[in-house]
């Protein structure tokens, strides 16, 4: 079920009403929200629901075992074994559904190239939507229990955590220790932050329907499908437009998920914070897909040794973390390459800072012009990396980049005023001061339910009329 559809609107109205009617009877509410979430997820394919059920019972059983082992004197080794089993089981599920064919195909190709044939069968396994998010989410449960930062929840509560539909498909990756406490007691039906929720939902819908989908169909798809048909100028805007598209698409999903959760009485962590205002790659990753980058930091980079094992190892850890981050996004070498580009970029940034620190130099204070240049440089770096993320193959990505120099001489007709305007708007909204957004949220919250209904009606009307007919899938579903 897609957020920007009438089907979801009807689904949500029913779920919303039942949510608050059942909330006083918390146990019943939990069963209800699990059922509603299964309907939401099973809308694509009912078999996907089995995955949620399996993820719930397997991780719950292992979480309980980990906690029991930790509670025993000298149970550390046993706890570690249970944790290892949980990590292996979850990653095996991810590996099976998402990477089996990728690895088998790559190995076949390698063996074939040395004359050993292609011995591994390719299965083309049905990929459940959002499985990467699901696996990372449930891993926070067992790992945090092992770390002593969380006690096992009841199976019912954990079932809600696994299946809660707002974040089910594309995040934010809410950690178990942040979400489960919210299930302790009924949510307050008299304290819904509707002003913020409606702002997030309407802003998300506008970003998705008015900016991302327009840019996708009017320039991005063409530039990436037939690069040789586009001039350098068009390719340049096509690449910038994709950077804006992926931001407006993915952050829209997060915003809508957070807004929908707020209406149901739950808080989710924020996932984006004006990423294209970043002045360094490191800064970019503090602002882009925050719940993933912090997950990678806490559950991968730091366990690898982080920056504690010397400079060289730090750089290696950064690159390894990002190679795996790339692979998390998709079973393809383009994603690995994209991750590698970011990993190397981060390592180089770090090396430069280390070198300056070693010489006792401090970062020079930047002028306003220099700051803008830094932001531009980061945007260019990130955009070039996105080309590999978007392209069908690494060769295809280089074909797009090659057009930047090979397509000189003509301007072409793909760069229209709406395209330019929406690219500028997609970047510009990230420079809107937070304070202004918060004032708008406050203003919306104070006009009461009738006023909010009117704003909702007007905004939905404008989005539906100005946007394309029919909703396109969110890009991050496939991850």
């Amino acid at each position: 079920m897609l957020f920007p559809t009438i089907t979801f609107a009807v689904f949500f109205l029913v779920v919303y009403a039942a949510n608050w009617l059942l909330m006083p009877r918390l146990r019943l509410w939990k069963w209800f929200i699990i059922a509603a979430s299964y309907v939401f997820y099973g809308w694509w394919d009912w078999r996907f629901v089995l995955l949620l059920v399996a993820a719930t019972f397997v991780n719950q059983a292992l979480g309980v075992q980990i906690a029991r082992a930790r509670g025993r004197r000298g149970g550390g080794r046993a706890a570690r074994r249970w944790l290892a089993l949980s990590v292996v089981a979850d990653l095996a599920a991810l590996g099976y559904f998402k990477y089996m064919d990728f690895f088998a195909g790559s190995l076949d190709h390698l063996l074939s190239s040395v004359g050993l044939g292609a011995p591994l069968p390719l299965l083309r396994i049905l990929l459940p939507v959002g499985i990467s998010f699901l696996v990372f989410r449930v891993l926070t449960y067992t790992i945090d229990i092992y770390r002593g930062q969380l006690a096992p929840a009841s199976t019912l509560d954990f079932g809600v955590y696994v299946a809660f539909f707002p974040y089910l498909l594309a995040g934010p990756i809410a950690r178990a220790r942040d979400f489960l406490p919210q299930l302790r007691a009924p949510r307050d039906p008299h304290s819904i932050d509707a002003g913020r929720a409606f702002m997030l939902i309407l802003g998300g819908l506008a970003k998705k329907m008015l900016i991302a989908d327009y840019l996708s169909t009017h320039i991005v798809n063409g530039v990436f499908a037939s690069p040789q048909s586009f001039s350098s100028w068009e390719t340049l805007w096509g690449i910038a437009a994709y950077s804006v598209q992926i931001y407006c698409d993915f952050s829209a999903y997060s915003d809508i998920a957070i807004g929908v959760s707020l209406l149901l009485g739950f808080e989710l962590p924020e996932n984006f914070n004006a990423p294209y205002t970043a002045r360094s790659i490191q800064d970019f990753w503090r602002r882009w897909h925050i719940t993933l980058s912090s997950w990678l930091r806490d559950y991968l980079y730091i366990p690898l040794g982080g920056s504690r094992k010397g400079r060289g190892r730090t750089y290696v850890n950064l690159i390894v973390t990002f190679l795996l981050a790339g692979l998390w996004h998709g079973a393809g070498w383009t994603f690995v390459f994209w991750g590698g580009v970011h990993g190397v970029g981060l390592a180089l940034e770090r090396a430069r800072a280390d070198a300056r620190q070693a010489r006792g130099l401090r970062e020079p204070g930047a002028t306003a012009g220099a700051r803008m240049l830094q932001r531009l440089a980061v945007f260019v770096f990130v955009s070039v990396a996105w080309v590999f993320f978007r392209a069908d193959s690494i060769g295809g990505a280089f074909a797009v980049l090659w057009r930047l120099v090979a397509g000189l001489g003509s301007i072409g007709s793909a760069v229209t005023w709406p395209v330019v305007g929406l690219v500028v708007l997609g970047i510009g909204i990230q420079y809107v001061p937070r304070g202004l957004v918060e004032r708008l949220e406050g203003g919306l919250s104070r006009i009461g339910w009738a006023g909010q209904g009117a704003v909702l009606a007007l905004a939905l009307f404008l989005i539906a009329t100005l946007g394309p007919q029919g909703a396109a899938e969110f890009l991050y579903f496939k991850f």
Binding site: L13, Y16, W20, A79, R80, G105, S112, L122, R124, Y146, R147, G148, L150, A151, P152, A153, S154, R177, L180, P181, R184, A185, I192, D193, A194, G195, F198, A225, Q228, S229, N273, A274, T277, R279, S280, Q282, D283, R286, I290, R297, D298, I302, G306, S307, R308, E349, E363, R434, G435, E438, G448, W449, G453, L456, A457, F461, A464, T465, Q469, G470
Partner: protein, 448 residues
């Protein structure tokens, strides 16, 4: 901000050589010796969190240890709570995310943390959050009031967009679901019209140039003045190729466009519409679109790929014809034939591309039926070539396969997960087969 974290000591040693034995993170996944924390006094209200959890601390600067938040869930006495080994100092609920917010030593490493402030380029209070006491207050609503707001919003937006929604629903496959939805929408559409609430949408659409465009007629498709085919195709006098179809043509069409234009003798224009076909001109009127585009683009030839959405009931003279019935086949063949007439008027050529083998049995049967209709109609229409692609996507046993050997014998992924659409490699394969026919027909030297 309260700062009574039990791991404060370790936070002062972000670059130490792993001497901090409390940090399992430096030693694989060794569990910490410290326990989960005590019950929160503020339960059951969960701690207020920053909306931006990681303002200052770079994710890749692990100068500070990972967040060591206490288990407030367990602390509240939830089922299965672990027995704490040792009580930890209490932390205020407000510092739930404070590990992230503290500008720790981690900011030393790497590039400048946030330049001119944790919030962004204009300083911490510009893109960042306003200080708590200066933040605008938000009024909270009750669940009933929010429901009322949503009902008003959806109802009024529904009235304003009733006609747009009705048009979308009309485009759905004929059947009970569509009929029910249209029946439910009917009062909304009537009310919207009576109150003239459909005017703003019409005005907005007209402003955006989305209104009903003037159409061309088949009479405007000019007859041949000079021989269009055969003729010598040169770089100066390129073959103008028009590519049309449904979502299948998205990948196939762009592959054909790429391959065709690599010859430098063909100029291609791709025009596809997702979910469209010849069964439902009420959803998208391809016969009219073909006429309009032929008048405007004056192509020499058209490559066509339809069928993926055509295996559905059709409305014909007020009657619903069941897909696959004899009557359905007659009507569909008439539509295909008429499209071929349009596309070949004025001495133009048409390359009607058959569909590849499909995964699901029922669907495969329908597609096969339509392929037979295309082939039969192509034989009746001079200037139309039918290009079968079924076998191009079948394995050596003649069955559907996601993976097929490429030229070197390596298995490559040809099909999308839905068992219908093509991957880029699959699109290239279908496009190459089509281009071979086009080049042969026009005497264009084939590419090596």
């Amino acid at each position: 901000m309260p700062d009574d974290r039990h791991d404060e000591g370790s936070r002062r040693l972000p670059f130490s050589d792993g001497a901090d034995d409390d940090l399992f993170v430096w030693d694989g996944l060794r569990p910490p010796s410290r326990p989960a924390g005590p019950p929160s006094r503020r339960a059951p209200e969960e701690p207020r969190r920053s909306r931006v959890p990681d303002e200052s601390r770079p994710p890749w600067d692990d100068g500070a240890p990972p967040p060591r938040r206490r288990d407030t869930y367990a602390a509240a006495g939830a089922e299965g709570a672990a027995r704490p080994r040792r009580a930890a100092p209490s932390r205020g609920a407000d510092d739930e995310w404070s590990d992230w917010l503290d500008p720790g030593e981690g900011a030393q490493g790497g590039a400048p943390a946030a330049g001119d402030g944790p919030g962004g380029p204009f300083g911490p209070d510009a893109l960042g959050h306003a200080p708590e006491d200066r933040r605008p207050r938000r009024r909270r609503l009750s669940a009933g009031a929010v429901l009322a707001a949503m009902l008003i919003g959806f109802f009024v937006a529904g009235l304003l967009d009733a006609k747009v929604i009705e048009t979308q629903v009309k485009g759905k496959p004929l059947g009970t679901a569509r009929s029910v939805q249209l029946a439910l929408l009917k009062p909304m559409v009537v009310l919207s019209g009576a109150l003239r609430l459909d005017r703003p949408a019409e005005a907005l659409s007209a402003m955006l140039g989305r209104g009903e465009a003037a159409h061309h007629s088949i009479a405007e498709v000019t007859d041949e003045v000079k021989p269009r085919w055969p003729r010598q195709i040169t770089r100066k006098d390129k073959l103008r190729l028009y590519i049309i179809g449904d979502s299948m043509a998205q990948v196939f069409g762009s592959s054909l466009k790429n391959l065709a234009e690599e010859t430098h003798l063909i100029k291609a224009k791709l025009d596809y519409k997702v979910s469209s076909g010849l069964s439902r001109p009420d959803f998208f009127d391809w016969p009219q679109r073909m006429i309009d585009q032929i008048v405007e683009l004056d192509p020499d030839a058209t490559a066509v790929l339809f069928g993926a959405n055509d295996g559905q009931d059709v409305m014909y003279k007020g009657k619903v014809l069941k897909v696959g019935s004899k009557a359905w086949q007659v009507v569909y063949a008439q539509r295909v034939g008429k499209a071929m007439d349009t596309l070949t008027k004025g001495g133009r050529r048409a390359y009607w591309v058959g569909n590849p083998i499909m995964r699901d049995a029922d669907y495969r049967e329908r597609i096969s039926m339509m392929d037979h209709i295309y082939e039969a109609e192509a034989k009746k229409h001079p200037g139309v070539f039918y290009i079968p692609t079924w076998a191009l996507f079948a394995n050596d046993k003649g069955s559907y396969s996601e993976y097929l050997p490429d030229e070197s014998g390596d298995p490559v992924l040809m099909r999308a997960p839905d068992g219908i659409h093509l991957t880029r490699v699959g699109g290239d394969r279908m496009a190459q087969a089509t281009l071979d026919v086009i080049e042969k027909d026009w005497g264009i030297p084939q590419q090596p």
